[in-house]
């Protein structure tokens, strides 16, 4: 069964899948990796982003990716509001470790229930001219349903990386992750910086959500499927490293796809999590993590 075209298609499909995983995980790389906030509700926000795409796509026929971009500022402010509550209730009093986790668990369920109450539990899908079509380059097939999310995810990852590494606010976010006290001594307000960073992370979920619903149907509890995978990618990449997260996402995508193609799809999660465990055993700080 091993043939060059099957191998090449599996690699390409894995890269496309990995690109989508990067879009889902990039916000978590900021909150969990850089801000030390275990936002377990992150995938639920992604699903909320999918519902935003569904509503505006079915009402006005807008392209899901465009909707994701339009909704990102709204999600940004929602993220800021959530961080304010989290900070006031838990972080300020030093109870963020366990109580904060419970807070985000609760938030995840609230998002799910709100979506159920508002839109029911039926599967929701979007229409776009490219969904269901594909382009062939030689013997490699590229479904637009995966290619578009890959392109958007690549642009999103590059944009976030450049923002964090080239702007004052971006560097401040990286600084708050490394040494909060030093930042305070330099006259910057770590809370405001963390608040901005959390808003940025939630803004990415609007875009990731629009990509999720391009790939397949969504229902309110779908986000739970991505909790383990997204956290694994962030840890594998090396907590807080955006390039590391992107490479880890591509690696998980390629491993899953290769295993699905040549061994059997039921082995995919075991092998990809095996890769995570092996990497952490050899390099506990992840692929690009600081020692």
């Amino acid at each position: 069964m091993l043939s060059v075209d099957l191998f090449a298609n599996a690699i390409v499909a894995g890269l496309l899948l990995g690109g989508f995983y990067a879009a889902v995980s990039i916000g978590l790389a900021i909150t969990f990796g850089q801000l030390d906030i275990v936002n377990i509700a992150h995938p639920a926000f992604v699903v909320a982003g999918s519902y935003a795409a569904y509503i505006l796509n079915s009402e006005f026929g807008l392209d899901p990716v465009l909707i994701g971009l339009l909704m990102a500022p709204l999600f940004f402010f929602v993220g800021i509001a959530i961080y304010r509550v989290y900070y006031a209730a838990f972080e300020r009093t030093g109870q963020e470790s366990l109580s904060g986790l419970a807070f985000f668990f609760g938030l995840m369920f609230i998002i799910e229930v709100l979506l159920i109450m508002a839109y029911g539990v039926d599967y929701r899908l979007v229409s776009a001219p490219y969904i269901g079509q594909s382009i062939d380059i030689g013997f490699v097939g590229l479904p637009y349903r995966m290619l578009v999310p890959f392109g958007v995810a690549a642009a999103l990852t590059a944009g976030i990386y450049l923002y964090l590494s080239r702007t004052f606010m971006g560097r401040a976010i990286l600084a708050v992750a490394q040494d909060r006290l030093a930042l305070q001594l330099m006259g910057a307000d770590p809370v405001k910086i963390k608040q901005f960073a959390f808003g940025l992370a939630i803004a990415t979920t609007a875009i990731a959500g629009s990509l999720l619903i391009i790939i397949g149907p969504v229902e309110p509890s779908l986000g739970r499927q991505y909790i383990g995978r997204a956290f694994a990618i962030v840890v594998l990449g090396g907590m807080g490293s955006i390039p590391g997260m992107a490479i880890a996402a591509l690696l998980i995508g390629v491993v899953e796809t290769m295993v699905a193609t040549f061994m059997g799809p039921s082995w995919s999660p075991a092998v990809s999590f095996g890769v995570l465990l092996l990497t952490l055993a050899l390099r506990p700080s992840g692929l690009f993590g600081r020692k």
Partner: protein
Amino acid sequence: MIKRRSFMRATLASGVIALAAASGALVSFAAQAAEPIKIGFSMALTGGLAGAGKAALIAMEIWRDDINKKAGLLGRPVQFVYYDDATNPATVPGIYTKLLDVDKVDLVVSSYGTNEIAPAMPIIMRKKLVFPSLFGLAVNDQFNYNRYFQIMPAGPVPKIDWSRGFFQLAAEQNPKPKTVAIIAADAEFALNAAAGARANAKKMGFKIIYDKTFPPSTTDYTPIVRAIQATGAEVIYVASYPPQSVGIVKAAHEVGLKAKMLGGCLVGLQFAAIQQNLGPLLDNIVNYDFWVPAPTLNFPGIEEFLKKYQEAAKGKGVDPLGHYLPPYAYAYLEVLGQAVEATKSLDQSKLAAYMHKTTFKTVVGDVKFGKNGEWATTRVLQVQFRNIKPDNLEQFAQVGSRVVLYPKQWKSGDIVYPYAK
């Protein structure tokens, strides 16, 4: 005179006492008559199966309202006591324990789906209750419980009957295809369906050249479809849940699948929202179903029920057409209600005996249970999508978009073969 006056007083007093006693008895009788019959169940109202679970609940409530308009069961109103099992099998035993020990329900019925029914069985069996169940595939194969009654028309040998029609249709083609691929989700229902498909494929002389499972959380199905394509399998049997079914159908189109037959057990292709979204991608897929608009399946009461359901479903985010599960959710309560009325009892042994020997008239047609509580005769339809237009929901409510190919008794057209043009 005094004696006469005393006699009059005594008579009056005894009359008042007698009247009071009589009225007390009447009040007591009325109270007993008004005491509802409680039917308890768990249902997937959140989580992955909630789309179907909520639709089932709407249908069940229509039955409850219908029966209460006709003075209820045994002259008592029917009341539901139910809890959301969140599509989590682990919650089911606790729910039924509470229903029986705390809520003291009179009758129980199952949640929706194999994975949610099986965990309730040990509790139901311990209490020796009649258990009408909703869409469990081969659950009783392992329990052999004689008070289990399954409304899905899988047939007496559910695992085998489920896919018999699909492979029989493949075997009837000329030239007969030789190779089969089986792909199933890693979940109890899909694995049962795949086991039956395996047996049917072997029995009918096909060679299985691909036989794998996949995790339900899979995001992209193109690698799986490409791997199957690489084997050159002519007939592809898929057992999957709705999100996976959508992924597989889209991937088949994107990869340009060359198979001669595709389908079998794609759950979700019966749901209106998914049908509308997939549109022409569904063309020529042969898949199981239980009811479609066809002259052969126009049972008494089904149209009236669907009208009520479609009205009730508006704005609730559930399947707007309700062809797949809702009629059967209504029917399993019809069966239970008819048994209670006929035996004039809530005695579980009497109900079970009656349900075993009777042919019930329901909105899904005549229902007769076999020894194992499955339908005595299979009615798993194999239907083929034909000439589907994009983004058009109405077409699925009309005759012709889904043609019944099997069983012959219910057939409404001939197969278009092969799947790939």
